[in-house]
Symmetry: C2
């Protein structure tokens, strides 16, 4: 027995996970594709329940204590725990099992019929949520299997929490934290969402940008008009809207709204140093994306995604191409997503944006205005705000931050890149309650068509993910 223990201890957790995976690839993929075959729109209650039950059963089979935490009208949280003997530290791992809406016409294969493609020797699984965000769940499960096979025990108490409406904006996550404070307490959270660096190097992120959505609708004549008979006289709502947008943002990404940058917390020296250590891949990306210029006055992508952003998601008015007719439209509409950084909040954002728009001679209404309202003001704009949430950031200098980075470094052989913040938005601020450390730990490839058609995950990323979870579960303190 003593001999056996010594032999086992001589194998690193990552190596043990590697050996287990090589011997069990078919079982792992069978479990993965089974999970991917369950449709997972947050609004599809029946299938969301199936997903939750399937994941709960998988963790039960690994000996975890499992519950479905519930709130009325919300997909359940899958909650699982595994205790470690004598451990005082509890590390919690988050992922989500719902996925983005799909447009099946855009998919080469149906979104919920997972397919393994060789892809020129870099095989990938294609399915909705193959990357975002079921891959980490399967990697955690396989890591637990590898630990059992190698007789390795967790070094800390493990909690797992899987959400079923992240892609719908996590509308109940705050309520879940309010309702289940004991279950959702931990010394630190690891959020397993998002992609690794574009160079395929591992990265950890210590924050995320906040987000807020805004729909703006402006109005022209009450009925569509012949542009020959009324053009130059009846206001064209498309032009009204292009000019309003141009008062809000320039072509270089700079936001022109008064006071917009006032609340932005500058990066710390440590964060600046961490950024500098990340290789600049902008030229490769420019080629990949066929870009003739970038926004941000030539600053690198890494730095720019730490700034707040105003993105035009869409603009619709009248018709173009073969559908175009010589008319003045009744309205035009634009959809914006704002990205927020510490210490911006959706509330302050809204106040500043509305003050800006009002100062440009627009009367703001929350609902579609009637004729009297339209006639009473030179310009009327309907503003519809999504709920949104603020940014969050954890210090890279905390012991737990350093420990997670060291475990990954030991498992992969090189230090992960440390991002002060992810460019994208995940509701890290909820996990940060009471100052809890929250670290983002992504495992999937960046070129995964996340949120789009033909979403996929590289098997290499999945395999490395298993090794890293095994290392984290057994080497965190």
């Amino acid at each position: 027995m003593l001999l056996l223990a010594i032999v086992l201890a001589a194998v690193s957790p990552a190596q043990a996970a590697h050996d287990y995976r090589v011997a069990h690839e078919q079982e792992i993929l069978a479990e993965f594709t089974g999970l991917l075959a369950i449709p997972n729109l947050a609004s599809d209650t029946a299938n969301i329940e199936k997903n939750a039950n399937a994941i709960a059963a998988m963790f039960s089979r690994r000996g975890a204590n499992v519950q479905l935490l519930r709130l009325d009208g919300a997909p359940p949280l899958v909650y699982a725990t595994l205790s470690a003997a004598n451990a005082k530290t509890t590390m919690a791992f988050y992922a989500h099992y719902d996925g983005q809406p799909v447009d099946p016409a855009q998919w080469q294969t149906p979104p919920w019929q997972p397919v393994l493609k060789n892809d020129g020797g870099d095989p990938r699984i294609y399915a909705r949520s193959a990357s975002d965000d079921k891959a980490p769940i399967i990697a955690m499960l396989a890591a637990l299997d590898a630990m059992r096979a190698a007789r390795m025990a967790p070094s800390v108490n493990l909690k797992f929490m899987f959400e079923g409406e992240e892609e719908a904006g996590s509308p109940h996550l705050a309520s879940y934290f309010d309702r289940y404070p004991k279950e959702l307490a931990a010394d630190a959270w690891l959020l397993c969402d998002g992609p690794v660096h574009q160079s395929r190097h591992m990265q950890l992120y210590f924050g995320a940008r906040g987000v807020a959505d805004l729909e703006m609708t402006v109005y022209g004549p009450a009925r569509a008009l012949h542009s020959g008979h009324y053009g130059n006289w009846a206001p064209n709502p498309i032009v009204t809207l292009t000019h309003l947008i141009d008062t809000m943002r320039d072509t270089d990404g700079r936001i022109l709204i008064d006071g917009f940058y006032d609340d932005v917390t500058p990066l710390t020296p440590a964060e600046r140093d961490a950024l500098a250590a990340i290789p600049n891949i902008d030229d490769d990306l420019k080629r990949e994306l066929a870009l003739g210029r970038t926004e941000g006055a030539g600053k690198p992508l890494n730095e720019l995604i730490l700034q707040p952003a105003l993105n035009l998601r869409g603009f619709a008015g009248g018709h173009v191409g073969n559908q175009a007719s010589n008319t003045i439209s009744t309205e035009a509409r634009a959809s914006i997503d704002f990205r927020l950084v510490p210490a911006q909040t959706p509330e302050k954002l809204r106040e500043r944006v509305e003050r800006h728009i009002a100062s440009r001679n627009f009367f703001i209404v929350p609902d579609t205005p009637d004729a009297t309202t339209r006639m009473a003001h030179p310009n009327v704009v309907k503003l519809e705000w999504g709920p949104g949430y603020p940014a969050a950031r954890t210090s890279m200098d905390l012991p737990v931050s350093r420990r997670v980075a060291a475990v990954i470094r030991d498992a992969t052989g090189s230090a992960p890149y440390l991002l002060p913040s992810l460019g994208g938005s995940v509701p890290m601020y909820l996990f940060q309650r009471n100052g809890t450390a929250v670290i983002g730990f992504p495992i999937v490839n960046h070129d995964n068509n996340q949120h789009a058609a033909n979403e996929n995950v590289r098997l290499k990323n999945l395999w490395e993910g298993i090794e890293m979870f095994t290392a984290l579960f057994t080497n965190l303190r």
Copy 2:
């Protein structure tokens, strides 16, 4: 016989037409709805032929010499003549028998199933082309019937020409004038298209604005990107396009393209006087259209439609509302119609617009650019120009101009408004070859949903049209 002739002569042509119409309304409407029931998209060759044959047969039945003038690949021109004894003057009348495309989902009743509705005591016929532009054809036919019933002969040689692809942009009309110069020669043309004044008062127009269409497409990243991960760095094509548009036109309708107004011929004193005689109905229109402001620095509609115009027909990029997602789109597109006035031409327009856009740091391409082209320039724009045509104008001071106005004044009891130009575009320049006078003579109501769903014509307008055609056919010199 002498007594009879005297009695007949005592009845004015308009009165004779009125009396005839009152006695024959059902027959007139039966012929009208029969014609409206034939679908009439210019591209629908089989039905376009049916329309042409039906109209030809109607004129044959009135004793006219009728031919279908043909060019390969084009709908036929219906061409009919009626000679007057000893007349040296030939007056030609134009209308078109094709109609705008339809979106049946928007129609309360099917577009080619004509329906008579009482409309609160102001009855109307609803059907595609009820106004635009079959109403004048039926009114001319009924005028010929009224003349026969009253034993009135035409005072000038009459020519009728009906086009079958006006709503498709009259792509073959120039070739028809080239091919059939003898048939299409006249001392003056009356173009029977467009609406009467919004006050329901008769009007004549002595010109029309030219038109040119432009589709502009600008480019972002080669594939749609997550706005969180790439926003602030990858150029947003919607923003690129809003800023380009805003360099071209302000919110007051003023066109900002260098030299755009250089070729504009100022109005003559006579044209200014005629304009001043037209009542200003702008306040009524503003109420009808629920407008809180107008473009053009407060100038009246009548005056503004004599200026060139840049109208945004459409803008499309990304998605809005429920379809919106947090992405940076690959492209954005805008559709513009320009209105031209004397002496602007599409060629000069194109040169000035392209010089302007190029000066704003855009590389112009005629086709979708490849990756190499996109990477070689900060901004690439695809410009697709429609064929377009120039403006045209006839002097109000010509004898024929005065005579037409006098006949209408005598028939209706009040002088028609005289518009130097229609705001809309009809290819008057083609009719103006060799300096031929061309006068627009509309009979239909302005609130006819022309080009849109639920197109209609007021019966009162149709009835008055019959009276005026009878007066013109018998009183022109």
